[in-house]
């Protein structure tokens, strides 16, 4: 009898420590009643019923997809933007683990976590979009369409999710206090990082390469033999900008978790990241023009689609690039952050242009997402943010675990 209660007690305190942030259950529940959680609740109340409709009545009632527009917001935003913006994980992991830029060490973990969750929720979004999501593993285990670029994407996202999970494992083991496993997990990191970079290079560019099969549908200003390279370089841009943005938010929200010296360093890191992002963005800007020159599409710049293209090129690539440069010149982390947000919007704009706005440019009817498509996307993003918060509040992501500092 006594042993039994004893066991229960220790289980109870484990749950309390690990899951309820050290608070008794009631107190924990009370701590959840905040205005921001109320907003989350409202979003769920809208999103969940839509999910039920989607999975019981098909895509028809909740989307405006048609036979001419088989891909809409869920592919254009949830998948294409999701993958690009999750690129921060591999950018930072390679900078620190492979190229030895140690000063970025404190922000690797949040970046890897963002990357992992980003991909995870890309797959969740994909499950809404696929006609038969329960067949998602088919290309991995059952029927292999090796001629398909999407086959490559499928495999890589699957492998990369695994790799990123491995990369994040040390944090989980530290949280659980499993020292032995942690030792092994740490050893795996280099291998996982190299593998992760390869996979990312390939699937980031493969996402662009998917559109190589639509030369008659995607407007020539966006369609280019270089589109895989555009997608790859812009994923670096997006990833770095996202790291700047995400680490800023984390600092605001979880500031109490971050050590003092890190706070002092933080602006310097931001500027360093900004510099890297600016170089990548500049490369991207030049490459895009080479694409236009390669296809000799200068005459198309005068058309309506040309205006859209110029808006993307000047308003969402050149301008944020200039803001980055300004931020670097004045050594202002705040300006860099502004540039990062702007760049992120620019990459989103690009992915939506490729998948939606400049797609089927020769057809007269346009696709406009159903409001429920927006609602689902917002819900998925919200769940992603919630998960991030849940993990950051528990595991050693933003701070170093007192028992396992990096030098061990």
């Amino acid at each position: 009898m006594t042993t039994w209660t004893g066991k229960l007690d220790s289980r109870d305190s484990w749950v309390r420590e690990k899951l309820f942030l050290g608070m008794p259950f009631r107190e924990y529940v009370r701590s959840l009643m905040t205005p921001s959680n109320f907003v989350v609740l409202v979003i769920f109340c809208i999103g969940l019923p839509i999910a039920v409709i989607r999975f019981t009545q098909g895509l028809e009632p909740v989307t405006n997809l048609t036979d001419d527009y088989p891909w809409g917001l869920w592919i254009g935003f949830d998948v294409l933007c999701g993958v690009a913006l999750a690129a921060g994980g591999y950018c930072l992991a390679s900078a620190v683990h492979l190229f030895g830029l140690k000063q970025y060490y404190p922000i690797v973990r949040p970046a890897v976590l963002t990357g992992f969750l980003g991909y995870f929720f890309v797959v969740v979004g994909l499950c809404f979009d696929l006609g038969r999501p329960w067949r998602l593993p088919y290309p991995i285990v059952y029927s292999f369409g090796v001629t398909s670029v999407m086959f490559l994407v499928g495999w890589h996202v699957f492998l990369y999710l695994t790799v990123q999970f491995l990369e994040f494992c040390p944090a989980i083991f530290e949280w659980l206090g499993w020292k032995k496993v942690l030792h092994w997990a740490n050893k795996l990191t280099i291998g996982a990082t190299v593998f992760g970079v390869i996979l990312s290079t390939l699937h980031q560019s493969a996402l662009g390469a998917m559109f190589l099969l639509a030369p008659g549908k995607l407007h020539p200003l966006w369609y280019s033999a270089f589109i895989p390279v555009f997608f790859f370089i812009s994923s670096i841009v997006a990833g770095l900008s996202m790291v700047i943005f995400e680490s800023t938010l984390s600092h605001r929200i979880f500031g109490h978790q971050v050590s003092h010296e890190h706070h002092a360093n933080f602006d310097r890191l931001t500027i360093g990241l900004g510099r890297a992002a600016a170089i990548a963005l500049f490369t991207y800007f030049c490459l895009k023009w080479i694409g236009v020159a390669h296809g000799n599409h200068w005459d198309l710049l005068g058309t309506t689609y040309g205006e859209l293209f110029l808006m993307e090129m000047l308003g969402f690539i050149l301008l944020p690039l200039l803001v980055y440069v300004w931020g670097i010149k004045t050594a202002s982390a705040r300006i860099i952050r502004l540039a990062a947000v702007w760049t992120i919007l620019g990459i989103i704009f690009n992915r939506l242009n490729v998948s939606i706005f400049a797609f089927n440019w020769q057809l007269t009817d346009r696709y406009i997402p159903h409001w429920m498509e927006f609602a689902v996307s917002i819900t998925i993003v919200t769940v992603g943010l919630m998960t991030f918060r849940w993990i950051v509040n528990r595991m050693p992501v933003l701070y170093e675990h007192p028992h396992f500092s990096a030098t061990e």
Binding site: R135, P139, Y142, F144, L213, A214, P228
Partner: protein, 301 residues
Amino acid sequence: MDRNSFLKTLGVAGAALTSLPSLGKARTRVISPDWMGMLTDLSLCVGCRRCEWACNDANGLPNESLSSFEDQSVFDETRRTEAYKFTVVNRFEADGYPKPVYVKKQCMHCIEPACASACLVKAFRKTSAGPVLYNEDVCIGCRYCMIACPFHVPAYEYSDAFAPAVKKCTMCFERFTEQGEKPACASICPQEAITFGKRSELLQLAREKIRSHPDRYVDHIYGEHEVGGSNWLYISPVPFEQLGFRTDLGETPYPEMTRGFLSAVPLVLVIWPMLLMGAYSFKQRKQKAEHSCTIDEEEVS
């Protein structure tokens, strides 16, 4: 390893990715002399839409009475194929041609189908008999095939939650291979505007028609070369671009578009790890060297 070298590495990879399409060029195109095809003679079609009825009938699609297909109002707008309409007839007015021209649209049964090269689970196959067939049993419903098809043919059952499938014309594959009958549309056409036969013979027939009646046809067999050629062919009294046909698609088979990218993949798989591990060991060595002189500040923190 500093940032500059990092960018250099990136540049090399970028170059590897872009300069490789030439590697994918060697291809073997399957052209079977015996495979079957269809030839639609647009100068003969009168727009009775019986083929639509017969197609619905043969494929067990929702159908109406044959007489209801005489309704001309459907021609007010240009239609495309849908989940339960594998073929549709559209009406076009062409410059300097006295009559309206009716165009039957359906899957072209491409020689190198874009849909098949897009599918990540190999749901499409080009049969040696000619038709391009779809297998619902493996399809995951990503709809990439619909994105890829240059002719806007495959359609999707968006209203089905539990077993949605891609839908398109099969050229009545089973009808002609098992029952020895012509495809439904070719059988019913009162004008004999649709001829079923070996593709090679249909091409000869088409050429013959164009040669003996240069006044009646433009000198173009649509489907002979478009996107690498298709098993469905058209001849027309007016230029095809006036009839809603895309004449800007080129002659390159669609699978070719991604072949270069795909053949670059193994190279990235080989080159990248080498570069990255190289960078890593370089950095390790440099760090060790630094270590032996001074202790890196950051190491201590």
